[in-house]
Amino acid sequence: MSRASITKAHNKIQELSWEPTFVEPVDKYPTDYTFEKAPKKDPLKQVLRSYFPMEEEKDNRVFGAMDGAIRGNMFRQVQERWMEWQKLFLSIIPFPEISAARAMPLAINAVPNPEIHNGLAIQMIDEVRHSTIQMNLKRLYMNHYIDPAGFDISEKAFSNCYAGTIGRQFGEGFITGDAITAANVYLTIVAETAFTNVLFVAMPGEAAANGDYLLPTVFHSVQSDESRHISNGYSIILMALADERNRALLERDLRYAWWNNHAVVDAAIGTFIEYGTKDRRPDRDSYAEMWRRWIYDDYYRSYLVPLEKYGLTIPHDLVEEAWNRIWNKGYVHEVAQFFATGWFANYWRIDAMDDTDFEWFEHKYPGWYDKYGKWWERYADLSVKNGHGPIAFENADYEYPHRCWTCMVPCLIREDTVVDEVDGQVRTYCSETCHWTDAVAFRGEYEGRPTPAMGRLSGQREWETRYHGRDVGEIMQELGYVRDDGNTLVPQPHLDLDPKKMWTLDEVRGITLNSPNVLLNEMSPQEREAHIAHYKAGGPAGRPAPEPAGA
């Protein structure tokens, strides 16, 4: 279809909507935002009769690439280290995708602009496409990669693993709570506009470097739909900005959404790109370098800052602090180390970093070895089954961390930990902003005004608390992370598939899991204060602070 005929068709389909006269529109999904005097802003012109054939063609290319990968024996060149992390990533990502589909009526219901409704409805089916195409990619991996364990329990593991729960907020956050907070600010203004670049562009690049050229085919195809979604979201935020009353809410939501996306996506994708790769060419970009380009320059400076002229208050401080966490506070390294500490509770295998990795890290992040090198050497030693337990339960100069109540990534940058009693529970937070998110933002009142539509953080957010006092072998059986011989674990601290070298339930039985939060709540106020002071003095790399003299 030519551009002129698309414009003509686009204008014509606007005739389809009408103002109902027999019923008052029902507020199906609550929002505290108001759009009464919003000027209409047009999103990209989208018409279904050109959309379907266009997408079908894209699909055909994807299916062609899948056939080609199988016939070309792609898996003979795929790095296991990379594929193992895909067990985590591909268990998470279809849920955010389908949640984006589910989020569309929240935005449609809130925004009185039929033109945007059409764009949002197309996005809905795009997201069904993304979710199912990704599930299908994972199915292919399960069928053709050497170790299917972990792919085979994918969606169950996503539902019952601490790591899946961290990922789940990037999805649940789109569909629950205030409709605009969820379906516009969190989903589109931040997740899609900022973070799909690292998800669907930076990560596929790394996949290709690890011999997997299918993931790039699928995810670039997914990403090519994203500009339409971004356009939908942009139209909505401009409409919201037209009403003075929305300003404070937008500021709140942008702070929350930015910080939560950073905490979750940078944790996961940062780890995959830095620790899930065998590509150690010195000129290959680090995650920090990619972040600087995709997030800082392309998103923050080119998209977010220009919105200031419409009166939007941009969280400059939080953008800088996210960068500070990545560059100076070792956020990604701390997270990767934590995932590896927790290998015994995962559903994928994590191998130790070796000398080649060390060199690359030291080159990209000067000072890395002094912080993290010794621990990874210890990890390598303890990965060999030899009568000891997993590294989390052995002496490795590592204090198992408290969990952030809000983002559910642990409080790894120890000095930034915030402790507060909220809703009758002593909670720990990884950062001031995560504390603010729970204690201030997700409440029924904000800066003195009622926010009756705002959601709440809920659920049993601390994985460790759920299993406090339980035997690790029992936990693993209950989770289902045991291979089909009934004894060998799905997760392993190495990549050796020799059955004799693989860890089994026998090595984790008799170990009791403790929840740092339960223990914290059991302490007296004085004990707690001392404990937290000590905790905050610890790190980097989870090293406990030296005991004070005379203690």
Partner: protein
Amino acid sequence: MSDQTILEEPPRKQRSVPKPVFTDAEAGAKEFPSSRSRHYNYFEPRKRRASVYEDVTVDVQPDPERHLTQGWVYSFADGSRGYPQEWTALKSTNWHLFLDPNEEWEQTIYRNNADIVRQLRQVVANAEAADAFSNWKRGWATVVAHHVGAWAHVEHGLGMHVYTPAQRDAPTNMINNALAVGAVHKLRFAQDIILYNLELSDHVDGFDGQAHKATWQEDPIWQSTRENVERLTGVRDWAQAFFATAVVFEPLVGELFRSGFVMQAAAPQGDYVTPTLMGAGEADAAREQRGARELFRMLSNDPEYGDANRAVMQDWLDEWTPRSTDAGHHLQPIWSQIPDKVVRFDESRARAHQRFADLVEDLGLELPKEMQA
């Protein structure tokens, strides 16, 4: 650690490329526990082997009643979380039993819709080339401009404000995906009609491309239908909205107009294009009805809640049937607007009622009183 790597780094302009490495990470390269575990093992497939549809759909939307152990991590202000089962009055011992009989996923969605789009464009292009629109009998173009045009609003309203919110609200991924596909079928069909209207405006002398708006908003023939559609968009209970749309409205109004009028009346008027268009929409509506039949039969036969569900659905039936019979009844004058009456309203209505009665019986419900006579 040394600084050697920095010295070894090649100059920036000649960027290196990753080298392929033989890893032998292919299925079957080694034997070890689970090395043959090559199917998703967290759900029971319907048949011996899971279909691709099941593999890409089941459990993607988690559920505390299945594998979700830490619960939903966000809630609405009122405390409801995730996909609350309370968002409908119907209950199920296992919502996950429902599988879309059309097995829609990414590949089928785009294949089917793209096929329809291509077929329609071909038919319209051929008709234009053959100047087929000039063969239309007098008066037929007016019927198409007014009434076929008005129908586009029905499809749009149901797609955008019934099916689209419903796919947020149901408790499983299988139900929600089927509803999402229903939504785009309706929206595409609405656009197909209105863009066809645009082409006719360009090719048929005197064709009033704007007439559909006033017809839909003001013509007494359509006001009951518009009221029915608007009321459907205002239902908060997703299953009620789907039921009242797919089980009640579609046979009594949708099929009545699409098949009972347009598809039968058009050919004698020299029009073979409009029936093709309507036929595509009718076929999609039939797909949605297959899904509805499957879902509501499952709920009707639920071992624990079947009786209660039938009572709820019977109430819905009793509430919505009069609205849709009334809407259908008001459409009657359209049948008289064509020169030769090849099709009688009573016959069309009898057929629609029969199909409705079959569906109602299949769901274990009773035909509302006014229809038993």
